[in-house]
Each structure stands twice: as C-alpha cells, then as structure tokens.
Symmetry: D3
Subunit: 295 residues, 6 copies
C-alpha cells in the first residue's frame, strides 16, 4: 500500500513553492490518504505573517472536509521549522491598536486574540490526526502550533522556545493552555514559560514534548510518513473517534469521559470496519489490508 520512504521524501521535497491559492503553505499528498502541510516562507524562517494565520484556518477546514485525507503531516521548509510570529508584518495590529478609549481598544484586542486562537484550535477540531515534524527551531507561535497537534517528532538539532515573555506579553494563542497538558513536569513548563530559555531535543524527549527524536530531517520525514501510513491504513471510524475522545478526555473528568465515550461508540460500533478488521485479524493479516469506506 505504501511507497518506499525514499519516494515520499522526494515527493515531499519536490514542492518549489506555496500551493495556490496559499502564499505561506505548500500542500501535497506524499502517499494515499496522507496530506502534507508545509510551512513555506523559507526566506523568512517560516515566520507567521497575517496571510499565514488566515491560510491555516482555510487549509484545515478543507482537510476536515476532504474525504481522501485521513492523516496530516505538518513540517517546515528551509532551515528551521518556524521563527514564530512575524512581528514586522503584524506590528500594526499589536502596537497601534484601534479604539476610542481603553475599553474599546480592549474590545478589539479580544476579537483579535480570539481569532488568532482559532487558528490553532482548527487543528484540534479537525478529527484527523496531525503529526508535526520539527527541525532546527520552533519559537514562540511555533510552540502554540505544535501543542495543538497530536503527535510531535523532532530532529536531534531541534530546539524549542516559549518566547513570549521576551516581547512583553503572556503567550495567548495556546501555549499556556496546552503545554501543561502536553508534558508531565509542571516545574519545567513554568521554567520554560517564565524564563524563555531554549529546550533542546533531548530534554524535549525526556519531558515528553516529543515522542521521538531523529538524526536529521530526512530520517524524521521518513519516520513521520511511516507513522502517518500506519494511521492512514486503519479504520478512519476508529482513528478519528480515538482523536475526538482523547481530546474530550483531556478536558473532562474520567467519569464524564466514559459517559461521552459510551454515547459516542453506541453508533460507531455499528461500522462495517469492525467486521473487516476482525476478518483481517482472523486471517492473520494486518488491519491495513482491509479496505475501509471513506468517512
């Protein structure tokens, strides 16, 4: 079913620029059912400009509706994953706020922040698993982005930085909300957010921010695609139900989570995927040999 990893890589890196109509993202299909989203402003270190914030939402809304996509891989083109917010492009909105008095300026800031929070929440609302592959550096807004993804991988040379206190603000598009639920050491979370120090790949692995570290970007992308292939080959009813319930569980008590799960699966267990998967199991085949209807 899957092409050899080398081929994927080639497919993935063959993109010469953003995929129209996007100006900051390159979209490709390296293998069946897998969508690859590449941050693509390499000359700007994939800094997040106004266009990026809008395009991420459009892109993930499309992916959510795309029945041919079952898994998403996110990576960055060029030297690093992302340098975070493009302050030059966005200085206007942040440093010259609009409004007749402080209350009205606040009102407008709130709409602005809420809109930007939505950008990464769409990743979470998209029921398809998102694997993010980080190389080089992942700074500021980049951490907001990756904590909204489901599985995090990185290269040995990667580092991560919660940069916001350095520019005089508390991180407000997701890092402070999601990072503590993503990694297990609260002391470390607080240290990173309060001192803006860099965290390197080894600590990222031991703290649980990433679940795998690869030698270099090529190896990582091959690994990311292999993992995406594993997921894409399984029942989308099972996979997407799993993502939805994992996120639900994070935000609820165990009792609430179980109650929701039972209500969810009362219909989802009626899928034919169950029979198909069971059949494969009986025949000692991989579940990936079964052919599942689109979802």
């Amino acid at each position: 079913l899957l092409l050899p990893a080398q081929t994927f890589i080639r497919t993935m890196s063959s993109s010469d620029g953003p995929t129209s109509p996007y100006t900051t993202l390159t979209i490709s299909r390296p293998a069946e059912s897998i969508t690859h989203v590449q941050l693509h402003r390499p000359d700007k270190l994939n800094a997040m400009n106004k266009a990026f914030w809008r395009e991420m939402v459009e892109c993930f809304n499309e992916i959510t509706e795309d029945k041919d996509c079952r898994v998403v891989v996110v990576s960055g083109a060029g030297k690093i994953f992302t340098a975070g917010i493009d302050l030059m492009d966005m200085a206007n909105d942040i440093l010259q706020p609009k409004g007749d008095d402080a209350a009205r300026v606040s009102w407008n800031f709130r709409k602005f922040i809420t809109k930007y929070q939505e950008t990464f929440s769409v990743i979470e609302k998209c029921p398809k698993p998102v694997v993010v592959a980080v190389h080089g550096a992942c700074i500021g807004g980049g951490v907001d982005l990756i904590t909204a993804c489901d599985i995090r991988l990185c290269t040995q040379d990667a580092w991560f930085q919660v940069k916001e206190v350095d520019v005089g603000l508390a991180a407000d598009v997701g890092t402070l909300q999601r990072l503590p639920k993503v990694i297990g050491s609260r002391s470390l979370v607080n240290e990173l957010a309060l001192t803006a120090r860099k965290m390197y790949a080894d600590e990222a692995k031991s703290s649980g921010l990433v679940s795998r570290v690869f030698a270099d970007k090529e190896a990582m992308m091959a690994g990311a695609l292999e993992m995406a292939g594993e997921i894409a080959g399984r029942s989308p009813v099972a996979v997407q139900g799993t993502k939805i319930n994992l996120i639900y569980s994070r935000d609820h008590s165990v009792d609430e989570g179980l109650h929701f799960m039972a209500t969810w699966n009362m219909s989802m267990l009626q899928t034919e995927d169950l029979t198909k998967s069971a059949q494969a199991a009986i025949e000692k085949k991989s579940p990936k040999t079964a052919v599942f209807s689109k979802l």
Copy 2:
C-alpha cells in the same frame, strides 16, 4: 509481621485454578490484609471472556466489603498478563447486535459499553489500593484494566499495546480516558492509541506508565508483595482516605480538591490511628508496628 518474600511467592503460585465460584480468577491471601487477584485462564492467555467481566465486578465488590483486606495485588497466571478481550467469546454481542433499527441497536450498545466500563471502574471505586503486576504482555482491554489500578509494576520483558484501532474501534472501557491522566507525555499517548504500536518496559518506565521494572516475574511478585505489605501495615483510615482523595483530585481543580479534602479529614482526623501512629513515631518504631482497628 510479614512473611519472607519467598513464602509469599509460593503461596501465590500454589493456586491450581480459579477460586470457586469464579471461573476466571484465583483469589488468595498471601499475607495478612493482602488479597491477591490472579487472572486465571492461562490456556487462553487470560483473555477476557463474558464470565471475566462479570466476575471482576463481583470480586471487587467483595473486596470492598472485606474488612480483612487492606491492599490488593492483581497479576496474571501463565505466560502473559492478558491478551485483552476474548473476541471469540464476545463476537456475538459485538458483531451481531440486537435492535429493530439503528437507534435501538445504539441503545443496546450503550448499555453494553456502560456495563463493561463499570467492570474497571469498580477497581477505582474500591477504596483499597490496587497494585498491578504485569509480565509478558498487556494488550487491549488489559490496558483499560491497569490504568484503573493505582500502582503499576512490570517485568523487563513486558510490553503494552493499545490495540483497539486495529480492530476498528476507539477504546471504550477506560484507556482513552485514563491513560492521558496516567502518563505525562501527550504525544506518546496519542501515538500509542492511534498506531497501536507496542511499548516496552523501558519506555513504560521512562514515560511513567509503570513506576518500577523488575528482572522477572518472581522478582516482581516479591516486590509487589513487599510494597503491598508496606501499605497494608499503615493506618487504613490514612491509606484509603489517600486513595479516595487522589482520585478526587485527578478529576477536579486544586481548589475543589482542597475543599473536599478539608471536609473529608474533618472527621478522619478523629481516628485513634493518629495517636497510635504518633506513639510509634515517638518510640522510634515503624508505623507498621501499631495495631489499627479494621475499617
């Protein structure tokens, strides 16, 4: 107070079969105040059949009422801890659901799932700490089971697998709800649940799924009993209050947890165990030398 570890092991392994009226569980008392529950269908790799689901509830309900039991150790007989759900035995219920239309089938599935969720929730509702010792393999439903236990140990050769996506369904009897609250890396939890890959003992330890790894089953059982003995020797008012409040805290904010704790301890501090323990401390004795009333 405690027998030498060797004796425990012998006591524990001397069981030749399930303890009547159970057909899938062997119950024994390897040492004072300790109940040992063994999954006991070794020829079926301790797969969970219909009888098992019912018997676990009965067994833990009994344990909850048994004033002579203060700690529980759970392990598996034979080659592995458990192969998870016995699909053959349960295929009927899952693959040939009952109901006149899809809504009624859903209704019945919901009752079915809720009942099976209860099976492991009884472990959590039982106020006595439950130490689970895993050897060989712990697959599918086995992960649901162990995440409902309080302390997890394993052997060096053990592996764990969230198997459900392989059979076309989202895990619905506890894994998706409890696993993320049990281990610290969300990236890892998602990876395990979405790819169904195996996790070995070392990763289980470093990720925090288990708190100790032992060379082999014999060493693990000795360790489990020693730990159980440590717990059993302390005030049951303190120990069981600790379990109840740890579970409450998991599902509530810190403020709510503190409020509940104060309301709990306002009566529990009136126990004579406090004086007895204090007395032991003054006399430089272990708290295990005190004799506490049954609870």
Copy 3:
C-alpha cells in the same frame, strides 16, 4: 544589572536569624527585584510550628503588595530544607481537638485544615513566580509547600517524602491535590503517597518534580538566583500574567483557558512593556535591558 553569583550567595547566607517581626523566616533582597525567603529554624530542621504557618501567610501577603519584588526564591537554612510539621508544637490542636460532640469537633477541624491549606495557597495566589530550592530533605508538609511553588530545584543529595500515611492521616494541605498535577507519572504519585517511601534527586528529576539538580547547595543557590534574575529582568506584566494563566489553565479545560486568556490579554497587551521589549529586540538587546514600570 545583576551582581556576580558569589555576591548573592554571601548576601543570602549573611542572615544570622529570622527577620523581625518573623520568628521562623529570614527575608532578604539578594538582588534587585528578588526576594529571598528562608525557612529559618535550623536547630529544629525548619520544622513547621504554629508561628511558621501564620508567618508564611503574612510574608506572602506582603510580597504580593511589594512593588519592588518581582520574583521570590524560597530555601531552607541549616542541614535540610524542612522536616515538615512540628508535631510537638502542634500536638495540642491535632490530638486534643475541641468540641462538645464529634460533629462539633469536625466543624473545628475543618476550620483548622482550611486555615492551614491557605498557608500554601497564598504562594499560588501571589502573582510573582516562586522558585524553591531544596537541599537535604523535604518531608511531609515540605512537599505540600514546594508543590505550591512554581519552579522546583534541588541538590544531588536531596530527598522527598510524602510522610502523612506514616502518622495516620491523608495529606490535607495540598500534596494530594497538587502533586498529581506537578509530575507526570500517576503510578509514582500513588506509590509515594501510599507507601511514604523516600524519593531521591535523580528520580525527582526524571519524574519532573524538579526541573534541575545541582551538585550542592551553593551551586543551587547561585542557579536559583540566576534563574530568578532572568525572570526579574523581564516585563512584570508578561511574567505575572503568565503565572496567573498557567495556574488558571491547570484547573480548566483548554477552551476555558483560551477564553480567559483572551479576556486577560485584551487589556494587558496595552502595556508599554510591549513597545519597550520590541524596541530592545529590534536593537538586538536582551529584554532585560529595558526598564519596566512597577506593577
């Protein structure tokens, strides 16, 4: 801006006794904007007596109002960090409770516990980050204390012990509520709380309880002050907003956290610190070179 580390240490260790009006705490200012709070009953192993519980509240209330303080470092004088509750001093209140019947005794215990819970909750309510540096031992009430701090450091020879079950009670001033949200392995949390076993520095680090381990106390204090300096040099609007939102996030769902964050930052983004920090960034200077108004 900062003095050489050696100087700090000297400043910090020059205190010969508690700072009036306190009898159990020594307060100093080792560097600009940094307050050092030292538990100071070295002859009693910094055991927490009645005076201590009251003084911690007064001390942190003062710190909260002190516009010249931006970060707090907490450490212990003498051989160990703290031996926990001073049972001798407090035996009266606990072992000879007041009240005409069991209900009235409970009523009084509840007020008593709630008051003591407040002692450490003030650390959390104080918006200024608190770095705690542990050497030697941190026992019982000490664990309650440090889990309410933001960043935890320790020396190589430090050990930690959730001691309460040994004295016949469930820990009720914060450990059971905060520890599971502080470290990533639930199995470990349960083991520590149910068996009262010691945990040493290495396990404290790998489990995430502390984020850094230092060779000895001198190195740790230098490290703590360096870290405190990093924090103190940044915008207090950013830093204190970060602490407040990190704590809010712990106790709420991600959606709730984002909603609160947007409402928080709608005004906080109007700070001049943002422009000052941006200016520093453009000039390639450290954010610590900017001069921020007091908060």
Copy 4:
C-alpha cells in the same frame, strides 16, 4: 388506545396490598405501557422503613429493564403521600452508629448515606419518565423522592415539608441538591429548608414545584394517567432521549449540553419512529396512532 379514566382509577385502587415480593410497594399496570408504583404502608402513613429503601431500588431496576413499560406513575396509598423516614425502624442505624472511633463511625455513615442517596437516584437513572402524584402530605424523605421524579402533580389539600432541620440534620438524600434546581425562587428554597415550614398546594404551584393542582385524589389520578398516556403513546426513542438529555442539561453548561445532544441524536435520528411519526403527521393523525417498536 387508552381506557376511559374511570377504569384506570378502578384498576389502580383495586390493589389490596403490596405486590409480592415487595412489602411496601404495590405495582400495577393501569393502561398499556404505564406502570403504577404505589407507596403502600397506609397504616404507617407510607413511612419509609428499611424495606422501602431497598425495594425502591429493586423496583426501578426492574422497570428500567421492562420493555413493556414506557412511563411510570408514583402515588401513595391511604391518607397521605408519605410521612417521610420511618424513624422508629431506622433509629438503630442512625442513633446507634457502629465504628471503633469517630473516623470509623464516619466511614460507615458515609456508606449508609450513599446507599440511601442511590434509592432516589435510580428514579433519575431510569430513562422512563416518572410522574408523581401527591395528596395529603409529603414530608421529609418524601420531598427527596419527588424532586427526583420528572413531573410533579398534587391535590388541592396537599402540603410539603422539608423536615430535616427539625430532627437535627441537613437533608442528605437529595432535597438540598435537587430542590433548588426544581423551583425558581432561591429565597423560597432557603426558607423551606431552613425553617421546615409547610408549603401548601397553591404556593407549590406558583413556585413551580408542581405543574398542576387537582381538586382531589381521584381527579389527580385521572389526570396523572391521562398525562402518562400522552407520553406512553409517543416514540420511546424520542421520549427517553428527551429525559436523558434534560437531566444532562441540568448539570452542564449549554455548550456541553449541545455537544452531548448532537452525539446522542447522531444515532437516535436513525430510528424508524421518525418515519412513522412523520407519516402520522402527514395523514393528520395523532402520533399516538403509530406503533413503535419496544426499546
């Protein structure tokens, strides 16, 4: 479909005593799909003795499983609805508690209260709507009972009394939790619970405790059966889904409620009852003329 009201009444009042194996309840089927549960210790004013608490649970568990029952009517035999707890029968358990110290007595009381709370929670967990018809008086435990029912009716001569403060305790089997969510005036709820004053039918109606008042018991029972008939004639998928979601909504935010509702109805909309009901509507017939499968 329905018998004339007079016939119902006769059927209902023809019961000469409790229905075996119950000793405190009379169960009958006054009309198709309707189960009538009568509190039946008329000589003791239907006071709730130990047997009653156990039998209510058994009775509602049976009703939950009884596919021929779609609605339940609860009423009381004899002069009044119920005098509440039978203190004589239960004095032992309450006034002579068991346990070696105050903590252990508390432990046992907690189990006792939790068990008794369950008695009325089964009414809420039963997905079939429960209409309760109160005549004469409804005292103490009676208020706990009726607030767990879905629809409350009463006769003109009925009165209600939250009696617990009169016997030295805070109502602990449901009144304090449910009454404030049942009626709209918090000032009134507090007044009733704190002063134990009687509330008569008119105030019960205007405050919303009951939704209808009838002239006498005969009229009320006819009205209750007519209302039960209206409910019993409609799709059980619709009716029971409505009850489950109304209770879920009470305990959750609107957003949570909507989320759960969508997950619930995603399968329930697949019922054939929808087509049958739509067909009846097109033919200008009552939905009650459709024949729905059992649930």
Copy 5:
C-alpha cells in the same frame, strides 16, 4: 432621541418582502441603533427551510460586526411567529441520511445537527441584546430560537409548543439545553418537553418564559421597540458586557463568574462612557442623553 411608537410600527410593517440577499428574512432599522429581523415566509407560516438556517447565521454575523446596531428585535411576519422546521424542505436530509454504514450515517448526522445548533448559538454569541416578540404560535424550532434570545415578549393569543417528541425525536437544537435554564419550574419544563402540549400566554408569563404579555401584535411591537430604545440609548460597553457576563454566569459557578467579571471589567471600567454617564447623572439627565462612541 426616539420616534413616536406609531412611526416605528409603520417603518417596521412597511417591508414588503425579504431583504436581499436574504430570502427568508426582512431586515430594517426602525430607529437609531436598532435592527429589526423579521422571519418572512408568511405564506409558509415562517417555517424554517434550509435557506433560513443559513441566513440566520449570515444575518447575525453581520449584526455582530455592524457598529451601528446596538440592539436587535426579532419577530415574525404574517399570522404566526413560526411553525418550526419546514419538514417538507428538509425531509431529504433527515429521512434519507447518507453514509455507507450506520456509523457513517451517524457521523454525517452529527455534523448536520452541530451545524443547525450553530444557527441559534450565533444569537447568543452576538454580544448585542436580542428581544424576541412572539405572536400567534411558536412551535418546535421556534422554541429553540426564542430560548437563545435574551428577552421574550408575547401577545395574549400566543402559544408555545415543544413539538419534537411528536415527530419521534428529542429536541436537538437548543430547547432541551436552554429551556430549563430559562424558566423556573422543572416540572413544567419536563411536562412540556415530554407531552408536547401547548402552553398559552398566561402560563408563559407566570412561568417566566416571557417577561411581558401584550394585548395584540401592534402593542407588542411598540413595546418591543420602546424596550429596545431603552437599551440602545445606554452605553454599549455596559450593555454588551452585561449580556456577555449574564451568559457566562449561566454556565459557571458564582465564584467562576465573579472571577471572570473582575477580569472583564478591569479594562471595561476604563471606558469614557462611565464619565459621560456619571456626568448625565449629576446633571439629572437620562443616561440616554449621553453620546457614546461606537463599539
């Protein structure tokens, strides 16, 4: 500031048909800062067809952004307010669901329901108060609509019907979630939802569903506009902050509500509206005489 009521009415009734691009809604501005949204399919009794569901979202999104609008009035053209869902127009979607198996049908239904829930949630998310004026009848989906509005008025001849159980389904676009939080008698809510009986104006008033009843539609529209004028004349910072916090409070505990309120008002109190309003008060003028900036 306000025109005489008669003029409003004329302005409001002069609309001859839907306002392009809408096909089911007529939008007008009867007075400064007031937007009037009229359900306008009078020949179909304002039944909610597919176009309606889409247009309500678009319409309220526009209103949210329209700085010239401060209050919204919603009413229905023709003989009644609305007959609810247009089953003919929507039968396709509901009765002939799409999907390869029951799980996939469920998946699609969930998206469908969620989209329709959004239709009325936009009313709640719009920070501008919405006054709804009901005449004739308000059936099924109409109740979902009005419970999402802020203030409900009706004519003496109006009636309300939670119709869903009559067509074989549990109300899933808001009634079951919002109605119990809108009116004070739970017994009545349950009765209405489980029996689908009609509720007339007097009961709607005494139960709190509407806060005012008018003799006829003309009087009601005059009253609605007068009330809208009262609101429109006050500070939009105060008014819209009030709506946002009233909705927040409904879904949170009092403590959470207070915490959010303080965080909200910390910026909103910096509005110049406060000074302007205070000035008016000192000069003994109505707050409506002040001129407030747009929001």
Copy 6:
C-alpha cells in the same frame, strides 16, 4: 423562648446610630442567638461608601466567629434600604484610576473589583443564615448585597433596580452572577439588567426574588424576627450544614452535590443534636425546646 414581636421591634429601632467601631452599621441582638445588622447612614439613604465596604467584611467575619449568633437579619435604617454605591465618596477610585499604562490601570482595577466582590461573598461564606428585609428602595449595589443573602423579604412599597448600565458599567460585584440563580425567569433577569427598570414588590414576589411581602416595615421586621427565631431555635449543626450545602449545590451538578453531602454528613450525623431533636419529637415538643451546644 422568644420575646413578643413588639419588643423586638423596639429593641431594633432603639439604636440611635452606628455601633462603634462601625460608622455605617448598627449591630444589635433583638433576641437570643439573632444578630441584627442595620445599614445606618439614613441621611445618605444608606449609600455604600468606602467605610461601608470595609465594615461589612469586618462585621460578617465577627459574626462568623460569634458562637452566640445563629441567624442574622439585615435591614436598612431610615427611608429606604439603600441607594447603592456612594458615587461621590468613591469617584476617586473609579474615575481617576492609577497606573502607568492601561495594563497597569487594569491590574489595579482588578484588585479593586475583587476586593469589593469579597464584601458580599463574606455573607455567603458566613455559615449562618442571613435574612434580609428590604423597604423603600434597593438600588444598584443593594441588589448585589441582597442576592448574596439567603432569604429575602420586602414591604409592599419596595422596589428594586439593577442600576449599573445607567452609569456605564456592567454590574460587577455579584448581581450578574447571582441574580439569575436567585429568580426563575431568565427573560426577566435580562430585562432588569439591560434596561435598569424598576421592579416592584408584586413582581419581586411572583418572580421569586423575595419569598414574602409585608404591608409595612414594622410588620416586615416582626416577620423577619419571627422567621429568624424559627431558625435560631433549631440545631445549629443542621441549620448551618443546610446553608453550606445549599450553596454548594447551586454551583455543582446533582451528583457532585450528593457526593459532597455524604462526605459532610458522615461526621455531622454524629451530633448529639440529633438525639435531642428526636427526643423532642417523641415527646411531641417543638425542636426549639431542645437546648443545643454552641457551634
């Protein structure tokens, strides 16, 4: 036990001014175990000045500790209950806020609002029931105050006004949080808060804001004292436990409420008040004849 009502009144009205050290409150003991708190700035219509906000906290903290007080009655001296915030006295703090930039002004406002919210939250945290008796008018901050009380009474000539939108702000010391949980009609709550219209005694009664209306102040005070006497005569363990659990229930789901209740009563049922009350019941005496220990 109780004095004739006339005597109470005299006792209550004999106060010639504030009770030292208070300058805005008169405190008296009209009957055993009853504390009467009178807002006492009659020449300023009991407007709430800075002193008042501070004194209310001190006063209720004292009452909480006063074992001789079991119930509190709050009323206003002079022509009306209260005109709300004393804008003249507080203009400084609100209209000339302090802080170097908008963020720092916000920071200070938040502390200010939080402090003022505390003023009325102390009423709720005081476990002793508070009956409030309103005559004349209750405006703005007065509504915040009375919604934090437990039982509300008023005279026939009383009116209530949520005044805040008139002065350009959203009510932020409790009204928006508590009023919707106090009265049953959401449409009415929204109308009152958004239009600032007056509500008179009859509507206050029918909507459930007050539970009783009296002809005049004298009758109301007699009624308030009689009701306070009823409460004061009952077991303080039962009464105060009832208040605490009623407030807990308001902010939690029914399941959470029951769980907390069981944990509360496990100790409180061990009170001797239970036996004393039971004894009184057997002897057919009023529970008020029993003599209960202080709490």
